[in-house]
């Protein structure tokens, strides 16, 4: 009897917590979107930013955010997934595995500003590149990899043992089993993790302040040669991302419409993450269906 009452109370508490979370999140969303959406016009999205006049847009910053995200993911996903496979399937209990796990956790817990400082030291000063997209992407890679590794590992561990054992019992090698049985099964989980990581990359500012810089050269969107100075695809150019832009208009902007630009940029950021999120979910389920459909 008593335990049943406790159970009720506990359930009530959990519902309350969930309600608090939802309320909090809804409020934040409401705040960001209600303040930001009125600012978001086609013009805002397609005009370059201004450093001192009202009415600047976020065209370049939006592109930079997406581009840095893309480059980071291109580097992070293969590394992270392989690392996750290693941890889940190949790592033998022992000192080395423990050490690797410690490394992963250390990387994951690095303050982003420390990553930024490290990036400043290595990718900006020592390499002599200055502020670049690639420097920013590499800095982001540092704390993105652990997230991907953890997610991959968890996803692989959640694959039913029977699946794996059946494959191994057929005399198929471990690696082949991973490729053909485990990865397809774990794919949606990995994708979710990649989205999470993307969200962080997209909103990251501190690590990029010192690596990708606070400015963007004049870009010519007609120029798709990645080695040209003014090409948006050049990874050796400085790039101010949307998140950094919000920070910089608030800290050094002379523009009179700081609040509007910051609000608009925040809204765009949130919407971009939302779109991205939904798209990836949909993709994930489609791929999952495809891969797990019987031959």
């Amino acid at each position: 009897m008593n335990s049943r009452i406790t159970d009720r109370i506990a359930t009530g508490v959990f519902y309350t917590i969930a309600a608090i979370m939802v309320a909090l999140l809804l409020y934040l969303f409401y705040f960001i979107l209600s303040n930001g959406l009125p600012q978001v016009t086609w013009d805002f999205l397609t005009s370059p930013s201004s450093s001192y006049q009202a009415g600047g847009g976020i065209r370049d910053q939006l592109f930079n955010s997406l581009y840095i995200l893309f480059i980071t993911m291109v580097i992070t996903v293969p590394l992270g997934v392989c690392g996750g496979i290693y941890m889940a399937e190949y790592a033998k209990p022992g000192k080395i595995t423990n050490f690797i796990r410690t490394c992963i956790e250390m990387l994951a817990s690095l303050p982003s500003i420390v990553v930024g400082l490290f990036g400043l030291l290595i990718f900006v000063n020592i390499t002599g590149w200055g502020y670049t997209i690639i420097g920013g992407a590499l800095a982001l890679t540092i704390f993105n990899i652990p997230v991907m590794v953890r997610v991959t590992e968890d996803a692989i561990r959640s694959v039913p043992k029977e699946q794996k054992e059946a494959s191994l019992a057929l005399g198929i090698t471990r690696w082949h089993t991973i490729k053909t049985v485990i990865l397809p099964y774990a794919f949606p989980g990995i994708l979710t993790g990649a989205i999470l990581a993307s969200g962080r990359v997209f909103g990251e500012a501190a690590a990029l302040l010192y690596t990708a810089g606070l400015s963007t050269p004049t870009l010519d969107y007609g120029n798709w040669n990645p080695f040209a100075e003014n090409s948006p695809l050049n990874i050796f150019r400085p790039a101010e991302t949307l998140a950094v832009h919000i920070w910089s208009v608030n800290t050094q902007g002379l523009i009179p419409d700081v609040r509007e630009v910051a609000n608009g940029a925040s809204a765009v950021l949130v919407i971009a993450v939302l779109v991205f999120n939904l798209l990836a979910r949909w993709l994930g389920s489609v791929i999952h269906k495809k891969l797990t459909a019987g031959k």
Binding site: P78, T180, S215, P217
Partner: protein
């Protein structure tokens, strides 16, 4: 189908490595190019050199970026990258030769760890600043002594300087910031400010002063464009282009653009352009700076004022 998964993975990996390797090579190429432009002794780089990098003071970035935009409108092939990063970083980088022009809101001589001997100073504008006070304090004119007393914590209530009965809240700048440096030198006569909220961002400082009862901070003149904060007079003198130009209002600083050795090529052309009437009469006043042409006095790195 299933095998594709791995191949894609491997291909991506290969791509990354390949791209990095290629870019590494490319970076090497770029770097040598950068070195020739950064190295002032290379000589000869007249109009062939179409790309320069400017970095440094965040406060100056909008001004220089706007001038660069305008310059590029007339000279399509000139590529001027204006980055921020802070005065200290700008001076360090221009000294190392990794950038062409380093912006700073203090004299290079004042920064520790910089050998000002090799750097050439180009003063492109003057920034004036004054105390910003929350309107409810009821004070808009302070003597310099009162200002010092407030900022050193001797005076803690506005009623002591003829205002309302409100506690004073100080809003400071970070220790190494040029704005703080200028204010401490010329408004507080070098006295160390007492403890207070510290913010790097002028917009944030303005926000805090406007919202917090009894708050006082200091801001560049361009931020006094509405009545949410009070622009304090010092000893009865209001900060304007005229009073700063004549030397009557003491709190101002040059905005410096430093080059390593005498500038050449595009760097020189751009700096000349910055000092031309075209920029000094438009962008400079638009952004709330005092044009160099208004200055009837000049100041050296030690702070000695002389008539022009």
């Amino acid at each position: 189908m299933k095998k594709m998964k791995l191949s894609v993975l491997l291909a991506m990996f290969a791509l990354v490595i390949g791209v990095l390797a290629a870019c590494g090579g490319n970076a090497g190429g770029e770097e040598t190019e950068g070195n020739t432009s950064g190295n002032s002794n290379s000589g000869g780089g007249e109009a062939s050199e179409t790309s320069i990098v400017v970095a440094g003071s965040s406060a100056m970035q909008p001004l220089v970026a706007a001038a660069a935009e305008q310059y590029k409108a007339d000279n399509a092939d000139a590529d001027i990258q204006v980055q921020a990063g802070g005065s200290g970083a700008g001076l360090s980088q221009v000294q190392e030769g990794s950038i062409d022009i380093g912006n700073s809101d203090v004299f290079a001589e004042e920064k520790e760890g910089i050998d000002a001997g090799t750097l050439v100073d180009h003063q492109v504008a003057v920034v004036g600043m004054t105390a910003a006070i929350n309107p409810k304090a009821g004070v808009d004119d302070l003597t310099k002594q009162q200002l010092i007393d407030i900022f050193t914590g001797k005076v803690t209530n506005w009623s002591e300087v003829g205002g309302e009965d409100q506690e004073i809240t100080l809003v400071n700048r970070p220790d190494s910031s040029g704005t703080r440096d200028t204010f401490v030198k010329y408004a507080l006569d070098g006295e160390t400010p007492a403890e207070g909220i510290t913010e790097d961002s002028s917009n944030t400082v303005k926000q805090i002063v406007a919202d917090t009862d009894g708050a006082i901070g200091y801001l560049a003149l361009s931020y006094f464009d509405d009545d949410t904060i009070v622009k304090a007079k010092i000893d009865g003198v209001e900060a304007t282009n005229e009073t700063i130009g004549s030397g009557d209002f003491p709190i101002w600083a040059y905005q410096h653009s430093y080059t390593n050795g005498e500038p050449e090529g595009l760097a020189k052309e751009f700096l000349d352009y910055m000092l031309s009437d075209e920029v000094q009469t438009t962008i400079v006043p638009e952004q709330g700076y005092v044009p160099m042409t208004d200055m009837k006095v000049e100041r050296d790195a030690e702070g000695n004022i002389t008539e022009k």
